[in-house]
């Protein structure tokens, strides 16, 4: 986006003249210091970082931090707009492995490798390899992971015991559905299973895509023919929608990660399949009523042997930032080993941002606090293979998402259809028929490109 438009110039001068001000307005003073503006997603681990900001400011005199903290969908819209138009509001942004590589390729992000190499003790070899790889472009890291996640299945051991049920060591989705049916107790307000249903590709599509992959479904075949109406895709979608509708939480079509997390933490679901990062809330006595009552099983499978996903919330510096050094100081503070220790000691070891560094799993206090879930979590992250999701070849990469720019739009539209099916407003077939059309439009563009 580097085109200037004549009408805009007129608009701008006009606006400025008429407002009678030269735009000096409410910009940060910046006389005796730098204010970093940082956009983050309002998940619990990030909120802890916000609360700890004074520690960073104490270590870096003259630098103050302002956070823009928004729910996932809203944060993504804002960050993407800003980066893609060169808006320049932010000095650092929270993105994921979906954005990092694409944006690095466009030159929208600062290459962090030189900063990493120049920072003593910032051990980037300590990042879990699959995550490090997914945040790198041509061998250099363009964003650094704040936490990494795969998915797994949390279940209430007390409820299982009460019902005389047992969680298999490596559950299949069919087994999960049976268990959900047994445990579903609407009278007591406890759902059999909690699964995201909120539209938004980062919401419902994350768990759904991991399920789709293990069901043997795919979005496109090798030649970019959309496969959303294929039998495997139908089966996966039908399974997911039925499971949520029959034994899922009330209001499922409007519940995203945050909502599911709250429900499970408040004891309102017997099982919860979602991000491994859930543990920071589920096992935290301040926000959960079910601490210590959960067991954790690997992500359920169907056709394939792996059912999880790989996702990471990471921090990058927009190429437009005017305070890159200070921004890096903040990034390295927030993703350093010391930060993890600080959170562990300040808020409890269950709250540390998990899954970015291998060394975290070796800290004795963490091992003790995280005994129930550290294993399945690390296993889920390490075994994820974004290059080869699912059981059959695909022209794209990514597990919880498709790493193509069009996916923000396509994913949103398809997720809306899926969410509508979960709400019972359309049938699964209708939803997929519509989705197939959207997907094929995108696929056609790629076909043309390949030609």
């Amino acid at each position: 986006m580097r085109t200037t438009l004549p009408p805009l110039a007129a608009l701008c001068t006009g606006t400025l003249l008429l407002s009678g001000c030269a735009g000096a307005g409410a910009l940060p003073a910046g006389t005796d210091g730098t204010t970093l503006v940082i956009a983050i997603v309002a998940n619990p681990q990030m909120q802890d970082a916000v609360s700890l900001q004074s520690e960073f400011e104490a270590e870096n005199p003259g630098v103050s931090v302002k956070f823009v903290s928004l729910p996932e969908n809203e944060a993504r819209a804002k960050i993407t707009t800003s980066i893609a138009t060169g808006g320049g509001e932010f000095d650092a942004v929270m993105i994921s492995n979906y954005e990092t590589r694409q944006w690095a390729g466009y030159g929208w992000l600062e290459n962090l490798q030189p900063y990493i190499d120049a920072t003593d003790g910032y051990d980037d070899a300590d990042f879990i390899p699959s995550i490090r790889e997914d945040l790198s472009h041509e061998g250099d890291m363009y964003s650094v992971p704040f936490y990494g996640e795969s998915s797994f299945l949390a279940y209430r051991t007390d409820l299982f015991e009460e019902a005389g049920l047992e969680m298999p060591e490596n559950p299949t989705w069919d087994e999960v559905a049976e268990l959900a049916a047994e445990l579903d107790d609407p009278e007591a307000g406890v759902a059999g299973v909690c699964l995201r249903g909120l539209a938004g590709w980062g919401e419902v599509l994350a768990p759904f895509n991991s399920l789709l992959n293990t069901f043997g479904g795919r979005w496109y075949d090798e030649d970019w023919n959309a496969q959303l109406d294929s039998p495997e895709f139908r089966e996966a979608a039908g399974f997911y929608v039925d499971l949520v509708r029959e034994h899922g939480q009330a209001g499922a079509a409007n519940s995203g990660f945050g909502d599911c997390l709250n429900r499970y933490s408040q004891g309102r679901a017997a099982m919860f399949y979602d991000s491994t990062s859930m543990v920071s809330t589920v096992e935290d006595p301040d926000s959960s009523t079910v601490v210590g009552l959960s067991g954790y099983a690997p992500a359920p499978v169907a056709e394939s042997g792996y059912g999880g996903w790989l996702y990471t919330w990471s921090l990058g510096i927009p190429a437009t930032s005017e305070h890159k050094d200070e921004a890096w100081a903040f990034l390295s503070w927030m993703t350093d080993k010391d930060y993890i220790r600080t959170v562990g000691e300040e808020y409890g070891w269950q709250r540390v941002p998990p899954g970015n560094r291998l060394s975290t799993f070796e800290i004795p206090e963490y091992q003790e606090a995280a005994g129930a879930y550290a294993g399945p979590m690390l296993q889920g992250i390490e075994n994820a293979d974004p290059e080869n999701p699912g059981t059959r070849p695909v022209p794209y990469t990514g597990i919880g998402f498709l790493a193509i720019p069009e996916f923000q739009d396509l994913g949103t539209r398809v997720s809306q259809q899926l969410s509508a099916a979960i709400a019972g407003r359309v049938t699964v077939d209708e939803a997929l028929e519509q989705s197939q059309r959207y997907a094929q439009t995108v696929g056609d563009a790629y076909k043309e490109e390949d030609r």
Binding site: T15, P71, K78, T81, D259, N262, R263
Partner: protein, 299 residues
Amino acid sequence: MTAEALVKPDAAAPRATRAPAPPTARPRRRGAVGAAALTTATWAIALVFVSPALWLALTAFKQEGDAATDPPKLFFEPTLDQFRTVLASDFLPYLGNSLTATLLSTLLVLLLGVPAAYALSIRPVRRTQDVLFFFISTKMLPVVAVVVPLYVAAARLSMLDNIWTLVVLYTAMNLPIAVWMLRSFFLEVPRSIIEAASMEGAGLPRVLWSVMLPVMAPGVAATALICMIFSWNEFFLAVNLTASQAATVPVFMVGFITSEGLFWAQLAAAATLASLPIVVIGWTAQRQLVRGLSMGAVK
């Protein structure tokens, strides 16, 4: 175009000259019982209607544990904890931004709107109707249709996340309605006053300032009030064009979108604080509110 027709008070209908209810021949007792019943019913309906707002205010004084319960709790031990939490969480800068954007844009609306409305009312320029229609039609443009150009323009000028951007846009947003309202107030000013002033050779600024304004003051206040309500509540532009430095109160509330079942009390406290300024102003200036809305048709 209907501007004039819509807003001009009905000349045929005498004004609200409300004499005390005239004595009627009907039996008094039955009337009194009926009136009491009607009064009770009115009170009941009003309370039911406004109960969500009362519930909101009530929830703001609860602990989180009391906020989301089944059945809902009416009695509990009140606390100010939630207000403390909200005020501690960076709420005040948002409040400051909202105040700045609201007051400055309202001021600017009046500065631009009063002369325009004067020109459109006193000696109607040609095509008055067209101009009025133009103003009101800009009000119908969905802002969403122009947000990308606005964003790009603001980015080019380094005006993103700047409170002045909101001031300018809120001015444009409220100006059409303000011109409409102000014009209808001007139409009520007796012509003779203006003509007398012009005879004495007073220039436009003087006519406006020392002759019209005293007569117009209630109307201007009414217009300002309406503009303030809409500026304070504006969400779309605020959420898209600000980030941290210029974010207003409605943007603060976005953080509560996913707060189902966990932070209701805090949400209620934030909502109460966010609404309080306008609620208080609206309550105290009810008369102006009515005047503004009815475009001066009622004093």
